[in-house]
Symmetry: C2
Subunit: 93 residues, 2 copies
DNA sequence: TTATTTTGGTTTATATTATAAACTTGTTTA
DNA sequence: TAAACAAGTTTATAATATAAACCAAAATAA
């Protein structure tokens, strides 16, 4: 009847991150931070979870001499996002 | 950018309950239970929360001689549900 | 009748979560 | 060279969702 909602995506900040990433080739930590208006700590934790789930990849590099963490949605992540949207429709009628 | 999601509605079971209630005049506990496939305990708790938020009304009466708890969505609840749906659209693009 | 099961829930315990505060490491800027 | 800032990470806390255990009354079986 009501399909189960993927608990990894059913989180305000993680969903926002996925929403941003589904729209761009890649995004770094600070960009995600401004877009989502999240605190660094919260964002850091949620990025880790998305990464652990295989929904995004995370690359730590440098931009000039400043550290720069780049995130990219994976195919698996994109598919999970699509399914989540589909499942939600059932709830929103 | 990303609007805040109403934490009362951003819950799988509470959202399912609201979804059902937004479609019918009223529904009793057992109906909600079969529709949402929730456990009694979980459903009971979430109904209380929706009621405390003023999103639904709860009337405990009898059907024959069996107890019967009847839930009904309120105008406030309906409006919150609509706004939640609207807010979510931002996330789902 | 008396026992047992079922119905319709509520209360309580637990484990997970989301979140922000505090901290770290290195880089600019004054 | 000291102070402020950037880019994160780690840790502590409070809130949540959830199911397990429980309860009272009604229906059913013996």
């Amino acid at each position: 009847m009501f399909p189960k909602l993927d608990p990894i995506l059913h989180s305000e900040l993680r969903l926002a991150v996925m929403s941003v990433l589904s729209d761009v080739e890649s995004a770094d930590f600070t960009y995600l931070k401004t877009q989502t208006e999240a605190t660094s700590g919260n964002l850091s934790v949620q990025i880790d979870k998305l990464s652990a789930a295989g929904y995004i990849t995370v690359e730590k590099g440098f931009k000039g001499r400043m550290p720069c963490t780049t995130c990219k949605i994976t195919e698996k992540g994109l598919e999970a996002f699509r399914q989540y949207v589909e499942a939600l429709r059932t709830y929103l009628k």
